[in-house]
């Protein structure tokens, strides 16, 4: 048992030792390479660093330093292909190097500033409110009195990915959880005031093409168009009947999801502005959403006979349209160096 413990301790110590020594080796290697470079011994720098630069000896920061020394060395040895390769590698590791460079030789600065370094994929989160005003397509009301659909407020939150096809054009996908409502008022339903409210929850998946315009180093404005699919997950209707003659109020609630179109294609147009921060971008946008089909599944409109006869209420054919206001935050998760 004792021997086992001793041998385990020995193995751990050996492992720690080798890790410490590999760091010393790496530092020593870089310092030696840097010294050789400063002495103009470029061939020796390349011989020393190139074989180990892709290994596990160097950590991320040391790898960056190694790429930089190699890029400088290959530039002075007039090897354009290798210079290009190592410059790209160093820019991939430190994407803001053009903005925050070391004091490099002028020709190196000129070369490195020719590369375009930009985010390729963003990931983000967003949340906000919405305002919907349904559009009546066909009325099925049993009453002919004045009636109206009121503007309702809702909310949405979720996440998104954005792929930059160019520096100013992107294709993105949003996955949003939506809460919205429908509010239908009938002023005179045989001596009653009738108010129908439907609370809807859904998942909205969209694909949006966006064009960005840079106003300055910090601010971008953007506009986008897209298509999406709204998947209804719950829908609850509540009707309140208030007597016009007395204080009597009756109400009932029903689950309406089985009579609704669960999947609705949507179109959307988006306008927004975003602000660059040290890490990612904060955006404010306004999205106009138009549902292409009606909320009610016409084949199942009369399925809930009890509710219809008790309350004398039949759901109309309406299409939802409205505005979503969102606050978003996104960070680049992949960069491209060209």
């Amino acid at each position: 048992m004792k021997i086992k413990i001793k041998s385990s301790v020995f193995i751990v110590l050996m492992f720690l030792n080798s890790a410490v020594f590999s760091q010393i080796d790496a530092k020593d290697l870089l310092f030696r390479s840097n010294k050789l470079y400063n002495q103009g011994k470029i061939e020796e720098v390349i011989k020393l660093l190139e074989p180990v630069v892709h290994g596990k000896l160097l950590n991320r920061e040391q790898t960056f330093d190694a790429y930089r020394i190699l890029a400088l060395s290959f530039m002075y040895s007039l090897n354009a292909e290798k210079t290009d390769y190592f410059m790209k590698e160093m820019l991939k590791l430190r994407v803001d190097y053009q903005k925050y460079p070391n004091i490099d030789p002028t020709e190196f600065t000129k070369l490195i500033n020719k590369y375009v370094v930009r985010p390729q994929i963003y990931a983000g989160i967003c949340f906000g409110g919405s305002s919907y005003l349904p559009q009546l397509m066909k009325s099925y009301s049993v009453y002919t009195s004045n009636q109206s659909y009121e503007r309702t407020s809702g909310y949405q939150y979720g996440g998104f990915f954005e792929y930059r096809l160019k520096s100013n054009v992107s294709l993105g996908t949003d996955v949003l959880i939506n809460g919205s409502a429908i509010n239908h008022k009938i002023n005179d339903a045989n001596g009653w005031e009738q108010e129908y409210k439907e609370i809807r929850k859904s998942a909205l998946v969209t694909v949006v093409g966006t064009n960005y315009r840079k106003l300055n180093d910090v601010v971008n404005v953007y506009c986008g168009v897209g298509l999406g699919m709204n998947v209804l997950t719950s829908s609850e209707g509540n009707i309140i009947l208030a007597s016009n003659q007395s204080d009597l109020v009756l109400q009932s609630t029903t689950n309406t999801i089985s009579e609704r179109n669960k999947i609705s294609p949507v179109g959307l147009v988006r306008l927004g502005v975003d602000f660059q921060t040290n890490r990612g971008k904060i955006g404010f946008d306004l999205t106009y959403v138009d549902y292409f089909n009606t909320t009610v599944n016409s084949e199942k409109r009369y399925n809930n006979a009890d509710f219809i006869f008790t309350n004398q209420y039949v759901s109309d054919d309406i299409k939802l349209r409205g505005m979503m206001f969102s606050l978003s935050y996104k960070v680049p998760i992949k960069w491209v160096v060209k």
């Binding site: 002495q39 103009g40 061939e43 925050y100 609630t253 921060t277 904060i282």
Partner: protein, 368 residues
Amino acid sequence: MNISKNIIVFHSFKQNVIVLFVIFQLGFSFGQSTSNCSEILLNANKLYEQGSLSEAIELALPCSQESAPVSDRWKAHRLLAMVYLASNNNDLAKKSAEEMLELNPTYQPSSLNDPIELIKLLKSILLIPKLSFGLALSMGTNSTFPSVTKEYIVADYNKTYTAKNSYLFGASVGYHFNEKFSLTGGLYSVNNKYNIDYQFNNWSVNVSNKLNYLNLPVMLEYALSSRILGQKIRPTSGTWIAQKKLKVTLQAGVFGGRLLYSSSDFSSTYLPDNTIRKLSNMNTISSRNLYQFGLITGIATSYEVGHGNLFLKMNFSKSLSNITKQSNRYNYTELSNDFYYLDDNVYLRSASISLGYSFYMNYQVIRK
């Protein structure tokens, strides 16, 4: 090897050019155009390496002005910090290092290119997040404690209110004024649940209430110092990390909320034969006040992870608004007739424990 020789010749030629260049520069004003800063800084760096510190400073200073491009200002401040350190001018070195971090707070020093004194100096500067964006979630740890100020009954009975657990989630934005004080605002979907039980004339009634609010809290936060906590945590590698990885924060503020939906389940049991009458999922939004306002306080602990922190918050909120719309109290004859129920004047109090992550969007240097 010919190339190496050529480069050495090129370097020694350059050194001569630099000396001439410095003489030329000193003879004129410092109003250099920013376009040649790259070359100037290269020369200033050579002077620094040769030990001509005051000449290096004079050459680099104009490139550190606001009018210069960010990349040149960055290089100039870095060089000036190194030169000032070498000339034992610690105050100016610190000022330059602070300027460096103002420009690039996420800078990771290089042990190869940055002198050890500069790395130490950068690590000594306190950098805190300026704007942060957080996401919080509380599952089953948001408890609602209703406070009844006036009870309304239609028979001789006493109502018993029971707190229930539910959820909350949402996002927040924080602005840090300094190391101690910050302001946070957020948007949270808060689900409040509570039960009411009462008995009369062989009937036992249970009412289960659910209210979902969209709350907007605004809180002032005060970070307790590590000394108060009796600990001193060393900064991790890199310069941008705040000095204390673990922080405890006290919070206090106000909140406003908009009721999104409200529903109740009514169940009455006739005790002699256990006959049950139910009214489920009744939308009660029209009997509620749509808006609420109140006070909120709490304590949060956060731990730096990556470019942000993981946090655990314990909040207590007290609404100053009655949830019942008093004008509609007697409108629901169905409820008063069948369940002998009337809404009381109820003020909600909530206690929640939420877990989340806050992203740092940018940083500020604390100059002392």
